[in-house]
Subunit: 172 residues, 2 copies
Amino acid sequence: MNELQQRILKEGQVLGGGILKVDSFVNHQVDPALMDACGREFAKRFATLGATKILTAEISGIAPALATAIHMGLPVVYARKTKPITMPDQVYLTLAPSHTKGRMVELIVSPEYLANHEKVLIIDDFLASGQTILGLARLAEAAGSKIVGIGALIEKIFRRRARCAHPAWRAD
Amino acid sequence: MNELQQRILKEGQVLGGGILKVDSFVNHQVDPALMDACGREFAKRFATLGATKILTAEISGIAPALATAIHMGLPVVYARKTKPITMPDQVYLTLAPSHTKGRMVELIVSPEYLANHEKVLIIDDFLASGQTILGLARLAEAAGSKIVGIGALIEKIFRRRARCAHPAWRAD
């Protein structure tokens, strides 16, 4: 995705502490043409996986996941970080560290939408330590679904060493 | 939008206390074809306003706002409810009551993306008391922008009486 790379080079700001600010086109303001193009690219790359559902985490995963969902024609579920009153009492919940919040956050999904032996494609904005994506995978597997693919708009490759220090998660 | 009405009638659940659960296609799981159709409909209805930017509130406003933004070719800004570390120290912040959370929540936007005399179209999932939308309007106007239109997927018309008890906000 040359278009995304060029945009990061042009507008991304390194704030220190491993933080890349892309608020002008991904995380606070969203460029719909760019996001639509990213969704189309994900759809193309993951076309043959037989995915039945897309899973992401609120908040900033919603835009890339929805753009991908529109191109793949698949429902998208976004894990909540606070349990809304519309959710049943019994939910799947896990914890994951948030790099930008500096604390653990809850990831919560309702069993209503992941319990049907889904083939789950995880889409998120950032892949840094991978802990959010691992948390989403735990939720999906606990619900009896299977992860068939993982896509992130931006990988922080300088955090690969930190990621490898954690137990690796693999599909199958 | 007959498609949305039929879906609410088929899958919406009234939980009591004025809560309509539409988690299977709007608020936790999103139906991308339906959301895309809603975005197309908003784009059609608001085509002549000269809008330059779409504004919504995280979390569940993001999907309808992005779908609309894709069809209108306009950037979308989502107000944050917690200030991320990527935001500047000086922000626009207002408070609005959350019906589903039962408390006041903060709505925060960075001056970076609303200060350019934008013509703002507000898109949200629900219009209940209207307080979230009023909050978004306050943020946009404080930043020097102007509201040109407001769209919500679902209006809770039974809350109109409560809404009218508050001072009305009008676009010019």
